[in-house]
């Protein structure tokens, strides 16, 4: 080549041809080569290729030194699949690719029965399969593996040798860690902290009430509090251990600081409180999607499929995306010659106003889908070939101070004759006889008797001889919508009436192919629940539920940690039922608590509760520490942290007094952190237990909703864990730790008789592998079991080799199928199962709730008032009802700060990944251009951001795409642990990365609820979210 190239170039310059040729000929070849030769292949540094794929024939020549393993990513909570490229010789991860079988990685994803070899073709040029079967991981999914090799990674158990948080540690043996944390004692005598600390054994007490005066709160065992991050496919293990084996209700996910209010709003909308369905839009077939505070490509769960599907839908399917967001995020494509932007810069916290205004408009302009909404029952829906139905026509008792106020009217209450066959199709609906006004007869009828109900009804009916006001669900929604004028709504959400009408008009002009999608932006406010309801309700009003291009509850997953075909992972033989109340004040009505009863008994007004209760919500990580500090409902004795960083991640929590509280062993006698790094929170632990990262651990992660087909991922150790192994050969990890603790206390559910198989015989659970492989067996055998694995695939994926140590976990019959599953990284329903014609294949099979009875009949624990049972607009407010703006008026606090997810981090995590730091190692205080100009501020200027709770200095980035009057601060920076602070182990300094702590963490400035007696973040009283986006602020140029 070079020769020709040389001659060619030579030729171009006549005069030098001679010399050129001359040299070519005269000189010996070596020299001639040295003169113009260029080596091929030329690149030394690039990592070795995994294989060669013949572009003509598609023949594969594998690189024997490299192996690809399908597993599941946890670079963020999205749990996409991945295909990990491992160097066999070094056993190290070289790179991470996407898993083409997994719907989160590819659009479309490969048919499940595609052979592994064929799946490799998605890497190559052969027949363009590299494009048509492209399987990707995102920026974080590409990089996250580097955290495994963090030089500061914690690999041995640590015990503090200084005060909590002082950063002095010593390594201890695994056995010592177990011994001391289980048995307790004078654990810190040697550093002068006398006083006996209770370990698991002492706390594990199901009989002694933790509060003798009010035994109702529960036993001492409840004072073990476990905070564990995410639904990462591993969570089920500690959850089972903590709640069923140990028996404390206090196991927490991070929902409350994540997006809880949205989830809870969906539970109300779908009236399904046990499982946790929620809906997303089916972008790929939709014509118009409004993304409320959930920009695809910016963040979102699941991040990748959201980004990809919306991109494809917009570029290839003519879907139009509108981003309702104070910040102009990525995720929508606007053609350079489009005349208007699809960005709707809503005022933070006012999505409810926008959505309710659109609802009011739809009512006034008669744009709601009446055909759909007037269908009262499944049967009627089936007749009308509609994939869904609602309770819009059901009558609700609205007679003031009627004992049943807020309840649905029951047919029997007005003496309607019961239909004989009122056994509704397989428990799709509770056996209740709701009443609707039948369109045909105009009379109240048992909903099951009517094919079409009257949508808007308000009138009196006689119940037990008394005239009682009843209204239809939709009537209640209409009245909520009409509570405010368009002017008021416009004022509230900071958009012009015209813009709102325009949006409403477009939304209601695509039939059932328009939908809303939303997440943190809407839900992380005190009004998050009702705003979410409003945004969700728009879908019911266009009638897009279960429809192609509408709202989907998603495919869901296969039975895994469940009562499956092979193993029953729900029942723990001899399990203990946790008693009492959760420390987070969730999942129970205040009216049922000992406090309420006591105060009632004393005859005093039981309201407001000492601290608010959140009956409908769960996983309120953000409430836990405030409860502990208030000692209400009670305090904790052992706090366990795993995969979580509550002090960093909870808005409005961490301040000096919180740090002081955590630091003092008198408050929380024992803190155990299970962590891979010295996290911002885990650094306050007494003991740190090392853990396996997600490339080294097991899991059966579901995918967050969006995927139309069924998905259950299978995560396995793709490398030999860097952590040492216990005497029994298990890697140091959360699971190994809990199992050994359990055995020591001989708790049920661990050891040789732990997991019942299908025949009901108890089988062993001595390792994480035991547990998760059994879950995988359930997945493999669910519905029609997956095929057995072929020999060559076994080799290709190195499965036998990798899984030798775990052979005893399953039967041979099970292995064959579990191997098949592991080879593909999970179990995935085929892409062609997306739709049945114009409706979704996987449907939500129950009534859709315009009005939710449960919601409409519970009371606000602070005011004692009943809650609205349907969507409504409420301004962000404190628990005592004062709005944020009343307390912090714009005149003093002209700006409202919001935060959004970091592009190169995931929450607080991945801050120790070098390549991501290289992409961006700090965040900015992002200001609108006009606002900045008014203040005389330019990009790069240093400013002080002042909020009612604190202040921080940061660097300004001036943007056009930030709402006027708003400030945006990217989350994920401003660490004070997690590599930002050095500490010592045995006197040896583990030094911090100077860049580690750069940037501003908004959570330190987020609002607290000043109306509460004790330190407490501002929270949504219904959805339980901690508010992170209503932060009032002013800005000072430095």
């Amino acid at each position: 080549m070079k020769r020709r190239e040389f001659l060619k170039s030579v030729a171009t310059v006549g005069t030098f041809t001679a010399i050129g040729l001359g040299m070519e000929n005269i000189l010996p070849d070596v020299l001639a080569d040295e003169m113009i030769a260029n080596p091929t292949p030329y690149d030394h540094e690039a990592i070795p290729v995994e294989m060669k794929i013949d572009p003509k024939t598609g023949n594969l020549t594998l690189n024997p030194d490299i192996i690809l393993k399908n597993s599941v990513c946890l670079g963020c909570w999205s749990n996409c699949g991945n295909r990990v490229k491992v160097n066999k010789k070094t056993g190290k991860i070289l790179r991470v690719l996407g898993n083409p079988y997994h719907p989160s990685n590819a659009e479309p994803h490969l048919p499940y029965t595609t052979s592994l070899k064929e799946s490799y073709l998605s890497l190559g040029q052969y027949q363009e399969l590299g494009h048509t079967q492209r399987a990707t991981v995102c920026q974080r999914g590409n990089a996250a593996y580097q955290m495994v090799y963090d030089p500061n990674r914690i690999l041995t158990p640590l015990k503090r040798t200084g005060q909590r948080g002082e950063g002095k540690w010593k390594p201890i043996t695994w056995e010592q860690a177990i011994q001391e944390t289980v048995e307790g004692g004078e654990l810190f005598k040697e550093i002068g902290e006398n006083g006996i600390i209770e370990g698991f054994r002492q706390i594990h007490d199901q009989n002694t009430p933790l509060n003798p005066e009010q035994p109702g709160w529960g036993p001492k065992a409840n004072q073990l509090v476990f905070i564990g991050g995410r639904d990462d496919g591993r969570t089920e293990f500690p959850k089972r251990f903590i709640t069923q084996c140990f028996g404390t209700p206090n196991f927490f996910g991070h929902g409350g600081i994540c997006g809880a209010s949205r989830r809870i709003a969906f539970l109300a909308f779908l009236d399904t409180w046990d499982k946790k369905p929620h809906m997303k839009a089916d972008y790929m077939s939709s014509e118009f999607v409004m993304f409320f505070g959930n920009a695809p490509g910016q963040a979102g769960i699941p991040f990748q499929p959201m980004a990809r599907k919306s991109a494809l839908a917009q570029s290839e399917r003519g879907m139009r995306a509108v981003i309702v967001d104070p910040v102009l995020q990525n995720g929508m494509y606007t053609s350079p010659d489009a005349e208007e932007s699809s960005w709707v810069p809503v005022r933070p916290g006012a999505d409810g106003a926008l959505a309710m205004a659109m609802i009011r408009w739809a009512f006034e302009k008669k744009k709601i889908n009446e055909v759909y909404l007037s269908i009262p029952s499944k049967e009627a829906a089936t007749k009308k070939k509609n994939p869904s139905w609602t309770n819009a026509t059901y009558l609700v008792i609205q007679e003031p101070n009627h004992p049943d106020f807020g309840k649905f009217l029951r047919a029997e209450q007005i003496g309607l004759k019961m239909p004989e066959n009122n056994q509704p199709a397989a428990n799709t609906q509770p056996n209740i006889n709701y009443v609707a006004i039948d369109k045909a007869t105009g009379n109240p009828e048992n909903y099951a008797e009517s094919d079409e109900g009257v949508l808007l009804y308000s009138g009196k009916l006689t119940i037990g001889g008394q005239e009682v006001l009843v209204k239809s669900s939709l009537q209640l929604l209409l009245e909520e919508a009409n509570r405010f004028t368009f002017e008021q709504y416009a004022e509230a959400c900071g958009l012009s009436k015209e813009r709102i009408f325009k949006l409403a008009k477009e939304f209601f002009s695509h039939g059932t192919k328009a939908a809303t999608d939303h997440h943190g932006g809407v839900s992380m406010h005190t009004n998050g629940f009702y705003s979410s309801m409003a945004v969700i309700m728009l879908n019911a009003l266009v009638g897009n539920i279960n429809r192609k291009g509408g709202s989907t509850k998603s495919g869901g997953g296969y039975l895994a940690v469940d009562k499956g075909k092979r193993y029953d992972l729900l029942t723990v033989p001899g399990m203990v039922k946790a008693k009492g109340f959760k420390i987070s004040r969730e999942g129970a009505n205040y009216e049922d608590t000992p406090e309420f009863k006591a105060r009632k008994a004393k005859g005093e007004n039981p309201y407001p509760a000492t601290l608010p209760w959140t009956p409908l919500s769960d996983a309120l990580e953000g409430h836990v520490i405030p409860s502990m500090m208030a000692g209400y409902p009670y305090s904790a004795k052992i706090l366990m942290l795993w995969m979580t960083n509550p002090l960093y991640a909870t808005p409005g929590l961490f301040r000096k007094e919180v740090e002081d509280y955590i630091k003092d062993p008198k408050n929380v006698p024992l803190i155990i952190g299970v962590d891979v790094m010295m996290g911002d929170s885990s650094q306050y632990s007494d003991y740190i237990i090392p853990d396996t990262t997600f490339y080294e651990s097991w899991g059966v992660p579901p995918v967050w909703n969006l995927i139309l087909t069924k998905v259950t991922g299978a995560r396995r150790p793709v490398i030999d864990p860097l952590v040492p192994k216990t005497k029994s050969g298990q890697p140091y990890s959360l699971e190994s730790y809990l199992i050994e603790v359990g055995k020591r206390l001989n708790l049920p559910g661990v050891g040789d008789k732990a997991i019942p198989n299908a025949q009901g015989e108890a089988t062993p659970m001595n390792s994480a592998a035991d547990f998760f492989l059994k879950a995988m067996a359930n997945i493999a055998f669910d519905e029609t079991p997956v095929p057995d694995i072929e020999v060559d695939e076994l080799k290709l994926a190195d499965l036998e080799e990798d899984l030798k140590p775990y052979q005893s976990s399953l039967t041979l019959e099970e292995w064959k199928k579990v191997y098949y599953l592991l080879a593909r990284g999970g179990r995935f329903e085929d892409y062609d199962k997306n739709y049945d014609g114009e409706v979704l294949h996987n449907k939500f099979a129950k009534v859709v709730n315009i009005y939710n009875e449960t919601l409409g009949t519970i009371r606000n624990s602070m005011t004692g008032e009943l809650l609205p049972g349907t969507a409504t607009w409420q301004a962000p407010a404190f628990a005592d009802g004062r709005t944020i703006n009343q307390v912090y008026p714009d005149t003093d606090w002209p700006f409202q700060v919001i935060s959004y997810k970091p592009r190169y981090r995931t929450g607080g995590y991945l801050s120790n990944v070098p390549v991501l730091k290289d992409m961006q190692d700090t965040n900015f205080i992002e200001l609108n251009l006009e606002d900045a100009t008014k203040l005389g501020i330019q990009s790069g200027d240093k400013v002080k951001l002042v909020t009612p709770s604190g202040e921080a200095e940061g660097t300004v980035k001036v943007r056009r795409g930030v709402r006027q009057g708003s400030i945006a601060v990217e989350y994920g920076y401003g660490h004070w642990g997690a590599g930002a602070k050095s500490y010592t182990v045995d006197g040896k300094v583990i030094s911090a990365d100077p860049k580690g702590g750069k940037g501003v963490l908004l959570n330190l400035l987020a609002l607290r609820d000043i109306s509460m007696k004790t330190a407490h973040p501002l929270v949504d009283l219904i959805g339980g979210s901690t508010d992170r986006n209503t932060i009032k602020a002013r800005i000072i140029k430095l």
Binding site: V10, T12, G20, M35, K957, R960
Partner: protein, 397 residues
């Protein structure tokens, strides 16, 4: 009004920095000096004869150091020699490599022929160190016969004639390197080589004047600035004036063209005329570097004052350094894909090298003027005749 804000991009620092600028400065000086020296020997302008040697010595000495800057700027200096055989016929620099070798070679031989006679005579008339040195430098060619000397002169003529285009090329090509880089608006103009040449002449004369002043005063056999020497210096200063005029004119044209060229060109012009570079450009390069020297060489009073003239000459040097820096670095600061100037921070390592090379340069010049018969042999017997004779020889042809 601008309606675009950048929110993400990657920074692209300036690559060719001060080392290259200074390298251009050296080659410029060298070329300038050589051309002046050739006025006597090649173009037969009698009065310039006496400075011919000085000019060539300078040209050689400067070009001995110049390439060090190039090599020093390489990321892989130890691979510089590959430039000689890994040729790329499409790369100006490839040619440069050879120009940079041929030109000083030619100049050295050229210089030798000019001095052979002195060496020869020196070997006889002188004693001690010089005698030995000169004996060595004759390389055995001690023939002082008429025809031998005539032969010398022929060679002097020949080599000089070859040397002039070489000198022009050596420096022209540096301008050409920049000119044919289309990517950089400031560089991409046909005028670039000319501009470089003219500023080369300006600085070349500037330095020559200074060198003559010092060396003739201290290292010439007479150790004094004889009236005719003074006169000559003033003449050269007048030459310099004209070079300045041409250089200035070229600049003006160049910037008019730039200003009305494409967006990039316009931006470049803006940057230099109003923007952050105006001080360095208008102030130092044009003001101090061209305007003031022009005035000094123009005003009747100053143009006949050694003091003012030497000040003017010094300023031209400063101005031309500024010019090299402005064009080389400024040219790359204009963004290709960004919305802000590409950052440039001089590498301390480079600054150090530049200092050391400068020292080396001065030492070489000192040694050369101290020990070589640049102004003829030290006074032993009838120096003036000697001088005179050379004069004669040259005229008689």
């Amino acid at each position: 009004m601008d309606n675009v804000t950048y929110i993400a991009n990657v920074e692209h620092p300036v690559q060719l920095g001060v080392m290259i600028a200074i390298y251009f400065f050296y080659t410029g000086l060298s070329a300038g000096a050589f051309v002046l020296s050739s006025l006597g020997t090649v173009f037969g302008i009698k009065k310039y004869k006496s400075i011919a040697k000085a000019g060539v010595v300078m040209a050689v000495a400067l070009l001995a150091i110049a390439p060090l800057h190039l090599i020093g700027d390489l990321e892989q200096p130890q691979r510089f020699y590959t430039l000689f055989y890994r040729l790329n016929p499409r790369s100006a620099i490839s040619y440069g490599t050879f120009l940079l070798t041929l030109y000083p070679l030619n100049s050295v031989i050229y210089l030798w022929f000019m001095m052979r006679r002195d060496f020869a005579q020196g070997t006889q008339t002188l004693t001690g160190f010089r005698q030995k040195l000169y004996a060595l430098l004759t390389f055995g060619k001690t023939d002082l016969s008429e025809q031998a000397l005539a032969k010398d002169d022929k060679w002097i003529k020949r080599l000089g004639t070859l040397g002039v285009p070489l000198a022009l090329l050596v420096h022209g090509y540096t301008g050409f390197i920049l000119a044919n880089i289309q990517a950089r608006a400031l560089w991409h103009t046909g005028l670039m080589p000319l501009i470089f040449l003219m500023s080369a002449m300006v600085s070349g004369t500037g330095l020559l004047i200074l060198v003559l002043l010092i060396t003739q005063r201290f290292y010439s056999p007479e150790k004094s600035l004889t009236p005719e020497r003074k006169a000559l210096i003033f003449d050269i200063a007048q030459l310099m004036k004209w070079f300045i005029v041409v250089d200035g004119t070229l600049m003006v044209i160049d910037f008019i063209v730039l200003y009305y060229a494409n967006a990039a060109g316009h931006a470049a012009a803006q940057l230099f005329l109003y923007g952050s570079h105006k001080t360095m450009f208008l102030g130092v390069e044009i003001g101090l570097g061209l305007l003031v020297p022009f005035i000094l060489t123009f005003l009747p009073k100053t143009k006949k004052s050694l003091g003012w003239i030497s000040l003017g000459s010094l300023l031209t040097l400063i101005g031309v350094i500024a010019m090299r820096v402005n064009f080389v670095i400024g040219g790359q600061q204009l963004p290709l894909s960004a919305d802000t100037l590409n950052p440039y921070t001089a590498d301390p390592k480079h600054l150090l090298m530049i200092g050391l090379f400068a020292l080396a340069e001065i030492t070489i010049l000192f040694l050369a003027f101290r020990f070589l018969p640049i102004y003829g042999l030290p006074k032993t017997s009838a120096p003036s005749t000697l001088e005179f004779n050379i004069g004669n020889k040259a005229v008689v042809k």
